[in-house]
């Protein structure tokens, strides 16, 4: 393990450095997605005809994915509780279940993309579809990044190492979930 600087052991604010940094990460992520979604909402209101485009998105797939992400978030928080009780292997199991949820999410997303692209709803059909692919794609990247991070943490957690990271990666995962909670009505429900 690399050395821990003394700096990292101090906690003037009362919040451990990792969690404090994670909140700042999320703050900067909020503005990224905030800017993207604000742009989308503005252009959407500028183009009343985008409702017709949106009617081609699959509400069923979106709803199922919402369900999957909410459930994986539940696993993540259960993993956090297990980690707090010092039960590394149990936390790792929950984390792997969360990763599984992410995988299901991406799989559904892949089927959705395939269906849409083969039916002519490509990135270039209209700016609505460009936004659809850009927003869900950026979100998908976050899901994949979260899965990778979670896998790494799970490997450590299984051995009982770095259990505080379970909470950090969980907070990140919940954030990804929250982003999807907003993407779902914006892209799928508003028709």
């Amino acid at each position: 393990m690399a050395h821990i600087p003394l700096a990292a052991t101090r906690s003037v604010t009362g919040i451990p450095a990792g969690r404090l940094a994670m909140w700042w990460v999320l703050a900067s992520e909020i503005v990224i997605f905030g800017g993207l979604l604000a742009s989308y909402v503005m252009l959407r209101l500028q183009h009343p005809d985008w409702g017709d485009e949106a009617s081609h998105t699959s509400t069923v797939a979106g709803a199922f994915n919402t369900f999957v992400l909410l459930t994986s978030s539940l696993f993540a928080v259960l993993g956090h509780r297990a980690a707090e009780h010092g039960d590394g292997p149990r936390a790792a199991r929950f984390l792997w279940m969360t990763v599984g949820g992410g995988a299901v999410f991406m799989l559904v997303k892949a089927f959705e993309y395939t269906f849409e692209i083969t039916h002519g709803f490509t990135l270039f059909r209209s700016v609505f579809w460009s936004f659809y692919f850009a927003a869900t794609g950026l979100h998908g990247l976050h899901v994949v990044a979260g899965m990778v991070a979670m896998g790494l943490v799970a490997v450590g957690a299984r051995r009982g190492e770095c259990l505080h990271r379970v909470e950090l990666v969980g907070i990140y995962w919940h954030f990804v979930d929250v982003v999807w909670i907003f993407l779902f009505p914006l892209l799928y429900l508003a028709k």
């Binding site: 052991t9 503005v31 990224i32 700016v127």
Partner: protein
């Protein structure tokens, strides 16, 4: 990037938990030591800054002697001219001002000044530099790819920047954007590290009002950066999609909107000014207090003004777009906020001036730089009013008046700020004193020359010179002898200024090799970095300091010494 135990705090006397790395690679290249990373940032920034200066030489020469081969560069074609102007701007802001002022000095100073051994996340810090280095390589590559470097100005307004059919740089434009995006990511990581470190890892006894002002300002700058850059990152992803795969987010033909990018850009772009301003302002304050042997005047008022500036900086962005086709009624809102933002900054300036009252000023090189920062920055500040007022901006927008204005802000910020910090902390960084004579020659040469560079631009700007135009020969009102002479003065000033930088380079080399050895505290300063040997060892402090008072207790009545370091018990 581990967070250790949270409950252990105030462990004074804690020895470094890790032996100093000895191999060349671990020590100089893949170091996790904040001092080394700071110097890596600074060195990369200086190299890029020199490159940016040489770019200015090339395009100024073309503007002054249109169509003639520029010595050392060759003929500057319109294509090359646009690329030079664009990349001069981008490099000076993103690859010189930011890495040097925030990342360079921030990394070097923050752990030293708050009295801890390193950043909270040393490996994240290293990753941040590596991403930054990658972005540097990408921007350099973007200059030499087929088709030439991106030439759509540093603001990269679409549709020009969005399509190779318009900008004719099919590779240069996406690479430029990629480099900027990578650079943002690097500074986001760095910023998170800075903020977490200062929030969590301060020395025992250092409350928020005992933090040295430069650390405060770097933190405020990092927060401004983190809060403002997000929409632009999102916008950059969309623009990259436009450029590379051909979507139409910013192309009205497909339903996009070019104004969207302008808003996203300036929502970041205006706070960015304060992102680079604040660290320089902070360094100036440090140096002024030390060499005036004075407590900083109204430390808290300065800080509150800075917070107010930070908040206001988020609501002024559209003053860059007064004539861009925005709703004319919105212009009133942004005029009001823009003129309001002059109030806290005027307050800061007044406080700096008031600091000199009753002082005992020692005119050493760092102090000269710091004083010149205040003097020169005032020119930039007051000329901003012309541009913030929407009606005069109709005339002055995108003219050389703007160029002169922001160079009078950015030159003090980036160049003077850098020299202030560098000459002041040089003994701490390298353990040797700089040569005063060479330092003063360099100072006077640069300061006199720079006014010859930019004052003429105010006049040519008012006379109608527009920016980013590679020759005025086709404009009958601009191709006059009088304006030509002013442009010549400006160009000569630039060449003289660039030549004087050689004095600096010589000074650095001479001082590094043969400078007088610096003791711990050559300037008799109060802040914590002067407590430890010069240069500081790995782990910074043999014994972790505890803080007893604010950083600016100079000339306290009743004390034999005229300074009172923060770590000395009462």
């Amino acid at each position: 990037m581990d967070a250790g135990p949270a409950h252990v705090s105030g462990t004074a006397g804690h020895a470094p938990a890790h032996p100093e790395p000895m191999s060349f690679w671990r020590k100089y290249v893949f170091s996790t030591d904040h001092k080394m990373i700071g110097m890596q940032y600074m060195f990369t920034g200086i190299v890029m800054g020199l490159l940016g200066g040489l770019m200015a030489y090339a395009f100024r020469m073309q503007l002054t002697f249109p169509g003639e081969a520029v010595p050392g560069v060759g003929v500057v074609t319109p294509n090359l001219y646009n690329a030079l102007v664009t990349n001069h701007g981008s490099i000076m802001i993103f690859w010189f001002a930011m890495p040097v002022l925030i990342a360079g000095f921030g990394n070097f100073l923050i752990p030293l000044m708050i009295g801890c051994d390193d950043m909270v996340f040393p490996r994240l810090n290293r990753l941040s530099y590596q991403i930054f280095l990658l972005s540097t390589i990408v921007i350099l590559v973007s200059l030499v790819v087929p088709g030439g470097g991106f030439g759509g100005a540093w603001t990269a307004y679409p549709p020009l920047s969005a399509s190779a059919a318009y900008n004719h740089t099919p590779l240069g434009a996406p690479l430029w954007l990629l480099a900027v995006a990578l650079e943002f990511v690097a500074f986001l990581l760095g910023g998170i590290n800075f903020v977490t470190t200062v929030m969590n890892a301060r020395a025992p006894g250092m409350g928020i009002w005992e933090i040295p002002i430069v650390v405060w300002m770097i933190i405020v700058a990092s927060i401004l950066f983190m809060a403002s850059v997000g929409p632009l990152i999102a916008g950059a992803v969309l623009l990259l999609l436009d450029q590379v795969v051909g979507t139409q987010f910013y192309d009205p033909r497909g339903g996009g909107d070019p104004l969207l990018w302008q808003h996203l850009f300036w929502f970041f772009g205006h706070p960015e000014v304060y992102v680079v301003l604040l660290p320089a302002l902070g360094m100036t304050a440090e140096v002024m207090a030390v060499f005036a042997r004075k407590k900083l005047f109204a430390y808290k008022i300065i800080l509150y003004s800075v917070f107010a500036t930070g908040v206001l900086s988020f609501v002024v962005w559209a003053h860059h777009q007064f004539v861009a086709g925005i709703d004319p009624r919105m212009a009133h809102v942004f005029t009001v906020t823009t003129l309001l933002i002059s109030i806290p900054l005027a307050e800061v300036t007044f406080a700096y001036i008031a600091t000199l009252y009753g002082a005992s000023i020692e005119f050493r090189t760092p102090m000269l730089w710091a004083l010149s920062f205040v003097a020169e920055f005032m020119i930039g500040g007051v000329t901003g009013i012309f541009l913030g007022a929407s009606a005069t901006d109709i005339y002055l927008h995108d003219s050389y008046f703007v160029v002169a204005h922001f160079h009078y802000t950015f030159f003090p910020i980036a160049v003077i700020g850098f020299f202030t910090g560098f000459t002041y902390w040089f003994p701490k960084m390298f353990g040797r004193m700089m040569n005063e004579t060479l330092g003063k020659i360099h100072f006077w040469g640069t300061i006199v020359a720079v006014n010859f560079v930019f004052i003429p631009m105010f006049i040519t700007g008012v006379a109608g010179d527009h920016r980013r135009i590679y020759t005025y020969q086709l404009f009958s009102q601009l191709a006059t002898d009088g304006l030509g002479r002013l442009r010549l003065v400006s160009t000569l000033g630039l060449i003289v200024m660039l030549l004087f930088q050689l004095v600096f380079v010589v000074n650095v080399i001479v001082s590094l090799v043969a400078g007088r050895r610096a003791e711990r505290n050559p300037w008799r300063a109060n802040t914590l970095e002067w407590v430890t040997p010069s240069p500081p060892p790995h782990g910074n402090f043999a014994e972790m300091p505890t803080v007893y008072r604010g950083p600016y207790e100079y000339s306290v009545p009743g004390r034999r010494e005229d300074y009172w370091p923060q770590n000395v018990p009462a």
